[in-house]
Amino acid sequence: MLFNSIEFLIFFPIVTILFYLLPHKHRWILLLGASCFFYMWFIPKYIFILLVTIAIDYTAGILIERWQSNARQQKLCLIASIISTCLVLFVFKYLNFCSANLVALAQHFGWQHPAKALSIILPIGLSFHTFQSLSYVIEVYKGNQKAEHHFGYYSLYVMFYPQLVTGPIERPQNLLRQLHEEKALNYDNIANGLRLILFGLFLKMVVADNLGSYVDRVYAAPETFSSLDILLSMVFYAVQIYCDFFGYSSIALGCALAMGFTLIDNFRSPYMAESIQEFWRRWHISLSTWFRDYLYIPLGGNRVSIPRWVLNTLIVFTVCGIWHGANWTFVVWGFAHGLLLVLERPLRNVHLFDRVQSPTGRTFIRALNIVKTFIIVTLLWSIFRAPSFAQLSDLFTALFHNGLMPHTLHINLATGIALASFLALDILIRNSRFDQWCGQQKTPLRWTLYAFMIFAIIVLSSVEQYPFIYFQF
């Protein structure tokens, strides 16, 4: 089920009302049933894949806890669990990619390779719940989390509908604990939850989808657009992907909060970052912290020699790229981020900022850094967005050759309003969250904002269907 669908507008209030009507001991059944229903709305049979992942990691968690005295057995169990969970991900997400590359390689060397592409549709959100499952097993292994013996609660931890499809990727210490807690009806939770849902829908349906129509047109045939149009579409895509994903995360947070559950904040004004390093502290926080805790630190983190640190960083970001999709464009996108982060390190030692004393000068440098980071990130998004390197090459060829072509990408009223609102909101809530910021405003302003957002969602949203970008991951 999509958050921006009519079905969800009916589903959400029913589940939330039933949640508060039921006694605590029965709520997990409701939430698990609702989560299954939510997931099965897409392609019902894929629930079985999810069940396999759940069963593997549920069993692994209990075994790891049981074999506390035997470190070797524990480690074997952890490895077996990680391999089998990742295997499911590999089959559905990467098998065709690997097979296609092997075929290409074989053809290059003139060998016969009979591999055939499998006709599999990637189950929605597979990468997200795989990572959430893995974090549970690893935390149990590390001793930071007790194994969950109640299969229903564990299933709910993996399947909790607000964050099932595109995260935030939760940790058991946060979500599993909360699932056991009794939640009382709380006005602030409901109000803040609804505010976040409204904000998320606005970001997705008004900002992201309206920009999406421009981006799709340009990326489909860049040769027919001027350099300015292409540049604009690159910027639009940067805003689109942010609003699309941030919108989904906000709705997820809002749905959970309305029932009293607090999920991880996934974004903190990432385009206000002054460096690539800072960008990753603000962008898709639940994923970047996952990679930090379960890959970067186990590899040695930054307490290693510089060459080793460079290698660790490149590995983490390349894996992060592959996590996003089975395509070389994602690999290169991830690697490029890693490389830029590595190159930033020596520059961080140039304390230009400290040498400037005046507040205006400091603000100027800050602004300059923000613009620089935004430009880099936007350019890298074009690799992320392009379906192949051939199309990426077409895009950049057109960018450098179509300078004299007339500007044809005319921005309509809805897009203008969407862009202006996005800028205003992102600046206003840069140190806060929309629900909290909104709660601090006076009633007339707050309700005017609600009315504007509701009107914009209904009237200015695109009539075309744009699925959430991160659904494909």
């Binding site: 999509l2 921006n4 669908s5 009519i6 507008l9 549709i121 009806l185 709380n186 006005y187 409901i190 109000a191 349906m205 309700w447 609600y450 009315a451 509701i454 009107f455 969602i457 209904i458 009237v459 949203s461 009539v463 269907q465 699925p467």
Partner: protein, 358 residues
């Protein structure tokens, strides 16, 4: 229930009332400022519904692309409705034509025709292909369904909300293909004699996996593909569960309610080519389905003109896909057949309806 809970519910209830008030206000704002533009950009069907009133038509002709498609060699590119009009110089005929339309859309168009009108006769084309899964779930269906939302009887802002939240079938291409595949499997076949395939999918698969047709004649891949299209489009047996049949039922009731004389005319299909490629079994099914329409709606006072077999192979324009696009000879033959039936109806005592197999 504790006092605190009661207070929270009351507080939420007050906010909910505020929200309703805001929505009422926003609805007025939307109707005044945006609704007209939205209709103009996204709902051509509404304009279509108003057309017969503007043109003071007494006969309206509802059709899809069959009405206006023509062959490049045609010397007369008139629409079927225009050719029909030549038979009735004293009548005003208005055609409501939109590509890929079907009974569900015709119903909405008819329902939205303003109450004050001069219409006496409604002629609706029955395209037998439109009853198959390939058409019901075709990629052309999504934009039509979107338009249908705008034609609902509901507050303007509510309709726009249904569009914003995609309250219509908006399948992705993968989903749609899966639905079509399932639909073709559900096209069960029950012949009065032995037939090796239980459903259209099995028949399609069998033909698609060989290099010859039923008569053993070896043919090109293009011919095989065309045959498979014919099978998917026509290998079904009509029943009241078919969504299009339900739509026609609604049209019949609507016309009765509004006092319009209804004429259903079954569009010709390329029976010659179907017979040559897919064999007599498919032709048998097509005739059975046309008879179903005649038998279902004839007794309900509807005039059914069965033109299924009146256009010969050479008058079909498209050679590589099943369509109902005719050259001028084909269009003229259809117009003449409908005109003949209408003339007979005019001569017949009031209330007597006929059906005719051509």
């Amino acid at each position: 229930m504790s006092q605190e809970t009661r207070d929270i519910i009351l507080r939420l209830g007050r906010k909910f009332l505020w929200l309703i008030l805001i929505l009422v206000g926003l609805n007025i704002l939307y109707r005044i400022c945006w609704y007209g533009r939205d209709l103009k950009e996204n709902c051509s069907l509404i304009q279509l519904s108003r057309k017969p009133v503007h043109e003071h038509a007494d006969i309206i002709y509802l059709a899809e692309s069959s009405n206006h498609s023509y062959d490049v060699h045609d010397t007369d590119t008139s629409h079927i409705s225009q050719m029909l009009g030549r038979h009735f110089p004293n009548h005003r005929i208005s055609s409501l034509t939109k590509d890929a339309c079907h009974a569900g859309i015709y119903y909405d168009v008819l329902r939205n025709i303003p109450k004050k009108n001069d219409i006496q006769t409604v002629i609706v084309t029955v395209n037998l292909r439109s009853f198959s899964s390939e058409w019901i779930y075709s990629d052309l269906e999504v934009p039509l369904q979107k338009e249908q939302v705008f034609m609902k009887k509901a507050p303007a802002l509510f309709k726009r909300m249904l569009i914003a939240f995609k309250a219509y079938n908006h399948w992705t291409e993968n989903e749609r293909e899966e639905i079509v595949r399932d639909g073709i499997k559900r096209q069960k076949l029950d012949f009065p004699y032995y037939f090796p395939y239980k459903n259209a999918a099995a028949w399609d698969k069998a033909i698609g996996s060989q290099d010859h047709l039923y008569n053993g004649q070896q043919v090109s891949m293009d011919t095989i593909v065309l045959t498979c299209h014919y099978i998917k489009s026509f290998a079904y047996q009509m029943s009241e569960d078919n969504p299009r049949v339900k739509d026609f039922d609604k049209i019949v009731k609507l016309c009765k309610r509004r006092g319009w004389r209804l004429v259903l005319h079954i569009l010709p299909d390329n029976i010659d080519q179907i017979q040559a490629l897919a064999g007599p079994d498919l032709v048998f099914l097509m005739k059975q389905n046309a008879n179903y329409i005649v038998k279902r709606y004839g007794p309900q006072g509807v005039t059914v003109v069965n033109n299924q077999n009146i256009v010969r192979d050479r008058s079909f324009r498209d050679r590589d896909f099943p369509t109902e696009h005719y050259n001028q000879v084909g269009r003229q033959a259809i117009a003449d057949a409908i005109a003949e039936q209408l003339e007979e109806l005019d001569k017949a005592p009031s209330g007597k309806n006929n059906h005719r197999n051509n």
